[in-house]
Symmetry: D2
Subunit: 238 residues, 4 copies
């Protein structure tokens, strides 16, 4: 594991953006799976400045790694809406370079990625409970590839799904889909980033704790090419 | 995972030898950790024919990944004696290319390998109980690096250690050392091979079962670059 | 450059076969361009034994890098006939894994290879005049990609073409096609092999001479990943 | 070749800085050879902001690839003085991470770099005459490794050397040292950048011309991993 401790959120975002860019400057096709959420907001702002309307990134393909559909809506779910707003739209990424994981096609996600040449890098956030992608404690096992997780997977799942769709009961789905631990580990490089003191416990657990399904991200520490980028607040307990 | 099913032990040994040779033909330094035991006997016979007195392999360095010392003896333990007899001596590998793990230096094994540039490949056998290296069920956790395992780690361990030193009580040590799951996963490539119908259950468990510390090798299926080489008998239950 | 000096033709052929096999054992698609001619005869015999009917090589794709058509014949030219007889047929390589360069499609060869992901390795013989593929002195320039070479390229070319088609004037074409120096250098790895005392001067020139279009293979010595495999007779003047 | 055309000098500098950073974020040791001169001024300003006092780059080692000594001075020559002022000093690179090529140690430069694991990347500027490093037309041949070039190598050389040392005759040396074409091609990746309309002819020659020692950089177009970064003015004749 390469551990990078940055001074603050701005530096963390800059370093994460540089990582992503570092993978994009290839001549051959590049496949990146990238994260939605709040951690990457500033990173995507920085990335958009570098990527927008730049034809020399036409070789880069993007994948989302989880999705929560809105009931009664066609089009993107929670994750893709978020990625689209933060990155794909402002960076003007061409549709043919965006490979969408949905509730309909999740069963072939691993196979499609493999046929595309595999993921060069997957960029992950870290939940306080140790989750990454949709791999929350109790929802997936280390051996799982891309999977569907139902509302009864854990006691809190219905509430989580409700919050994800903005608290509107009519829009709450009874499932989501996610690349599983085995799918994520298949990437040639994993980059995980986290910011803030509310992540400090999780980072301590990640770096110093053992490997256990109770803390899903712990598996990632066994990947031969993992980079962890955190700010000083997230590193406070190390 | 790349799964290679060969017709028999001879083909398995040939394919395994070709794998090892494939990593050795580099200009820069190459670091390989290789396995002792009965599975590789024929593979080493084939390798010796190709490697002996060939100066163009001077760039290749070898590591043992576990060791059981003989009480009352100086010099090699069970693993290195075995590797020396099967490969290092007949292949005339130079001493400076052999990096010995012992009960004395295990605490620095991971750090030394990292300073040497990391392992390009680790070649592993598979036990019927799912063990590889000295990672027997109940002895190490997924998060462990190179570690010492004591005789009281499991109920059977004293007996296992006794058998390993030839059944001679005076030579039985009260511990062994082994690279742990995390150390093994840090290799850039993992090759695991198995032969015979008595391994068929373990192979089925490896390929189709989930990931669990109860079957240590299951973790390896999450490595991004794993090759499994087995003969038809070992593949019988797939 | 990694220089491998083997005892004799048999060892050279074995080492060359091991190189080729070392590239074939990948999970992802592998693209190899391989050579016809007399040098590789024994190597292909060895390869056929390892490759024939082995499904675990379904990921490997093969390319010929030059071709001399027979006038008045449809079907393969000199190079592909030779490769087919020595390797593709006896090894039972599937048609969809064989990518044929012809007089008709040479203009798109570089572009097709690039779209396929590029060549992982190109295996080359060496002519006494320093040629490799169809890059004879005076026919191509270092900056050329795949090109057509006409019968008037050099004074000897008509005679060379005649000999290549078996000395039958009616079958002699007025051109051949070849991947050029730049196409060959684009491969991620280059392996060049040579055998016998009649190649000793050329090997000396390759290893110790400078880089000049008068000796086409000299360019290859500037490739970052070149392996040269020769027997003692070919190495006699080093 | 990956050709990146940027809008202007600022974008070219940003993209070049991102390239360099992309290579630096590794866990293992990274070896970079970097260029002095005027083209990289802004790039180094950007790099210093990202690199200064950041411990997570302790794995990165830097090499200069040419040097012009000052007569009568100890300490750095023209290149290292320039690199030190623009980058090493403001970025506070540790001395043990800087590997200095001098008139005294040039004969072992290639061997030392090889022993260090080879160059991961070399960053080059491009002269209007097609030179890179100290490989001016008429001074080195494609087959040369690191070499000394004397004042009588070309008719203009005495004047060039005089200008390089600030026009002070007493400081003018009668030679300089440079990594040669073969040394540069041995790097795993080559990045070449150029800015401004006065480079447009050279860029046209590089991209569309053939390979010839009369235009030294033309050889680089045969490297399997070359990236060229230029602004619109430098691209004007493409």
């Amino acid at each position: 594991m390469k551990l990078i401790i940055t001074k603050n959120y701005e530096e963390m975002s800059t370093v994460a953006a540089q990582h992503v860019l570092g993978y994009m400057y290839k001549e051959q096709r590049v496949n990146l799976a990238i994260t939605a959420g709040s951690t990457p907001i500033r990173m995507y702002e920085l990335l958009v400045l570098q990527v927008k309307e730049r034809r020399y990134f036409d070789n880069v393909h993007f994948y989302n790694f989880d999705e929560i559909p809105f009931v009664g809506e066609t089009g993107y779910g929670v994750t893709m809406k978020n990625l689209d707003r933060m990155f794909f739209s402002p960076a003007k990424i061409a549709q043919q370079n965006i490979h969408v994981l949905t509730g309909d096609n999740y069963a072939t996600q691993d196979q499609r990625i493999k046929a595309d040449g595999g993921l060069d890098m997957i960029l992950l956030g870290l939940g306080a409970d140790g989750h990454y992608c949709g791999n929350l404690p109790g929802t997936t096992a280390f051996g799982d590839e891309t999977a569907v997780v139902y509302e009864d997977a854990t006691p809190e799942m219905k509430e989580i799904l409700l919050q994800e769709v903005g608290g509107i009961p009519e829009k709450r789905p009874n499932f989501y889909v996610t690349m599983g631990p085995k799918s994520v580990m298949a990437a040639r490089q994993i980059v995980l980033f986290a910011t803030g003191s509310h992540k400090a416990e999780a980072i301590k657990r990640l770096v110093q704790g053992g490997v256990s399904e109770a803390f899903p991200a712990s598996l990632l520490t066994t990947h031969p090419h993992l980079t962890v980028i955190i700010d000083e607040e997230a590193a406070a307990l190390l």
